[in-house]
Symmetry: C2
Subunit: 208 residues, 2 copies
């Protein structure tokens, strides 16, 4: 089933990563607006054309790591028991994902990501990356719901969860007190009680 990736696949992943990292580095060094596809390709020792074979735009290259994380999260969701409550499924998946080696990321990566935040036009591309799996996540969630309006409810669950994950992560990047895992947990707890004003304080207090 899970055959070890051959040399071909490994090489591909390597250049993909190289392109992603080159993009991130150059964007942080020279500013996101002076980032050109040609430069990224050069930095990764491939041709401009090859870049296009991997990514359809420099922004996609920039947020490739988010895409990977999100695809991985979808897998984790799939692996949760079918009878678990939906929000629990999502929370646990998010926690596993965060725990999986990305809890204490490389400081250089952190700094670069913080640089990127400055450029407001990039936010749009990041949310785009998230929106890519929104539907997949919803269809994964739907069979776990019972009652009326399953479709609407699954889509709202997926969308709000992903938004929360994105915002909590971003907030932690800009403002890293404590662990990322803690930030994600706090965010999810907050989102879980969006509509109940009294519980906010309690929810936050409970996170410490």
């Amino acid at each position: 089933m899970a055959e070890p990736p051959g040399l071909r696949a490994r090489k591909k992943e390597a250049t993909r990563l190289a392109l992603h990292e080159a993009a991130l580095r150059l964007a942080a060094e020279q500013g996101a607006d002076r980032l050109h596809v040609e430069a990224i390709a050069d930095a990764a020792n491939v041709s401009r054309r090859t870049f296009s074979n991997y990514f359809s735009s420099k922004e996609e290259a920039l947020f490739y790591d988010d895409a990977v994380r999100l695809r991985r999260m979808l897998e984790l969701v799939r692996d949760r028991p079918a009878d678990e409550a939906p929000w629990t499924v999502l929370s646990r998946a998010a926690e596993q994902l965060t725990a999986e080696g990305l809890d204490e990321p490389d400081p250089a990566w952190l700094a670069r990501r913080r640089q990127l935040r400055a450029h407001p036009g990039l936010l749009a591309h990041q949310v785009a990356a998230y929106s890519t799996i929104e539907r997949d996540l919803a269809t994964e969630l739907a069979p776990r719901l019972t009652g009326a309006d399953v479709e609407l409810r699954s889509r709202i669950l997926a969308a709000t969860f992903l938004s929360t994950l994105r915002v909590a992560t971003q907030h932690w990047i800009e403002n890293p007190r404590g662990s990322l895992l803690g930030a994600v947990r706090a965010g999810l707890r907050l989102a879980a009680s969006n509509g109940t004003p009294g519980s906010w304080v309690r929810a936050v207090a409970g996170s410490s």
Copy 2:
């Protein structure tokens, strides 16, 4: 304070709208992928260059109406009393916005919007339009919160609320049973109780 817009401003708004509508119509007619800036400009009787003066891409033109709605919603949020509970502020603003003449939209518009849904790449641009005001909404919300973690909480509130609004609206477009207002109300109620499994059924039942 609010001077009536002169001829100049009215003309500008007119061409902006013309461009938006031309884009929407052409996208629905010929498919979103065969949509070219030149064609949009022609259909609106302006030059290609002028199109660029109004919109920075065809997708921005396509989702101009969302942008307008969202800016309007920000105003409505600003006008809510300062002591209202945050989620109530958002719900009321959304309801007002929906009630403001867009509750029973033009069937042609609806059909076109439904066509657009087919093209998956466009979702990214729609969420981009929503993300544009995410920060503004958060900074508007922040002063209405008390306690700890005001920044994180306001950002999560803004993000989840906007996601919900987007998904509920989109769901209603694809699936218009009842009024849009009803769909938005239901969506917000659902989002308000994301984490509490037992309350889902009650929340939905309460919407009928």
